[in-house]
Amino acid sequence: MLRFILRRLVGMVAVLFAVSVLTFLIFNVIPNSDPAQRMAGKRATPELVASITKEWGFDESLPQQYVTMMKKIFTGDVISYEGRENVDEKIAEGIPPTFSLCIGAAVLWMFFGILFGYLSAVRAGGWLDRVLTAVAVAGISIPVFWLAAILLNYLAYQAGIFPSYGYVALTADPLEWASHLFLPWVTLAILSIGFYSRVLRSSMLDVMNEDYVRTARAKGLSERRVMGRHVMRNSLIPIVTLFGLDFGALLGGAILIEAVFSLEGIGQYTAEALEHQDLPPIMAVTIFGAFFVVLFNALVDIAYAYLDPRIRLGESAQ
């Protein structure tokens, strides 16, 4: 187990390095213009561009520029030239709303994804399966930010059932916290609910055809026990793997959802920076977002190897 963890952590560090290099390339090398000019934003003056060039070392060699950029981002020394605020501080401020949004959406998505997938697998071919399959396909085909805007209009602006703006801290008022987040949770979860119920359905149908399920039935186990102990346990494996991969990706969806619901989190901060073509915040969010995904995946892998010996044995055998 220790060997697996070490291997996984070394791999993780390598990916983190590669991710940071790619981010550097995206922001400073691939585009065809002066990076200082881009970073200065829409109201750039020659003096500002000159001072950015000096500050970020854009007149130095590329490796030196990379080191400067990483140092600035990870020591909290990045300033937005548009809003004149410290980018890392703004991102830290945005963590509570964004995590409330993502964790709540993940709970909804796992619960309904598993429920719908289970129901359509046990009723495979029946009308309930057809309805749920149709709902799932519709769920993965909806532009979520569009659905968010429409729900916001009809349920918040017009009907006044939900608040239309902002975020209330959980510690300040749990009820307000939940009512502000309800529509964002639902809209962010819809895509994944559709996707996961389809994955679980096909995985359950595969498992239900396995010999050990037939054996379990043949030896007279109750249907409930066959489903709970034998089918569900094995069918959930791909779901758990996917969950580890997809949770981090919620951050992308959060940008869209927060922009629509004005949630004052990292996502809304990013969307506003995009509107002003303000690059430093986007640079920091990109790198922190990718780092978060990589770290989270490594943790899930380790937890997973702990639970399922086949994985760590398979890995060390290679």
Partner: protein, 344 residues
Amino acid sequence: MAKGSADRAAAGPWRLALRRLGHNRVALAFLALFVLIVVFVLAAPLWANDVAHTGPNETHTLEKINVNGEQRDVVDPSGKPIGPVWFGAGGKFFLGADSRLGRDEMVRLMYGGRTSLMISIAAALITTLLATVFGLLAAYYRGWVDPVISRSMDVLWAFPVLLIAIALGITLAVGGLQLGPIHISGGSLWIPILIIGVVSVPYMARPLRGEALSLREKEFVEAAIAQGAGAGRIMFGELLPNLWSTIIVFSTLNVANNLLLESALSFLGVGVQAPNASWGTMIATGQELITSAPLLTIIPGTMILLTVLSLNVFGDGLRDALDPRSKVRLEARAGVAEPEGTAV
């Protein structure tokens, strides 16, 4: 039953797949819907020139139009655009005007759909080409080639798709792109096409590589090598034909995902650049007026939903037709293979 299997032995696999697809009424219905949408967006110049008499980016802010004998402002003094007038003005402003700029919503919807579909399809072609070549190279050469390709895919995969697309979108929209001798300006449609095409590659390259690797071990590849076939012949003559069905299914579903990604990028202002219309930019424009004119948001979003839905359902039907194993396993109970890994 015996007669059926005799038929099957006589027909080739493509023919069989086509026959299976022909029996899938739902998939065919959604294919028909997709074709209708394509015809609708292709008819954009006809509608613009002969019915609406205006272009997608032409503004009519201060103009008045005659709706059933009544003179009405295209944009009223409070800044609210005119709503749908249907054929009240002879087809002009069929769906009303889009914003305080007073552009014809219907004309923009048709041209915007063209842009959205063109970007999605062109990006899917780029993704398919790159993913197929990477998958084949990794599977054929293995050795050091496979780890290099696979690890590069892992790095791209580590970014949330929307996040890396946004990062590329904003830097390229501001600066443009220099690809060797070719210069692409920041407002060009090639920027979203290239971005979407490249960031989707790992999602297709991984499964293709896996399948190509297992094909590589098959006897027919060994036989081809024994006959003295070279690298190109093995990759494109032996492996590729066996990958076609997977490639077709994945690229169909990829077009659907690209539409969602394009609309999200355009909504955030880093996809299609103003004044050009796409369904995503139209939602962004419409959303500003959502309380007074919700149709301006609802209509372009519905078009995206219908198009993506039609491609997803048809893609699933294609998969069932080309890879019927999932159905056989379940003894003709409804079968669904796993959908493409996606995240927007």
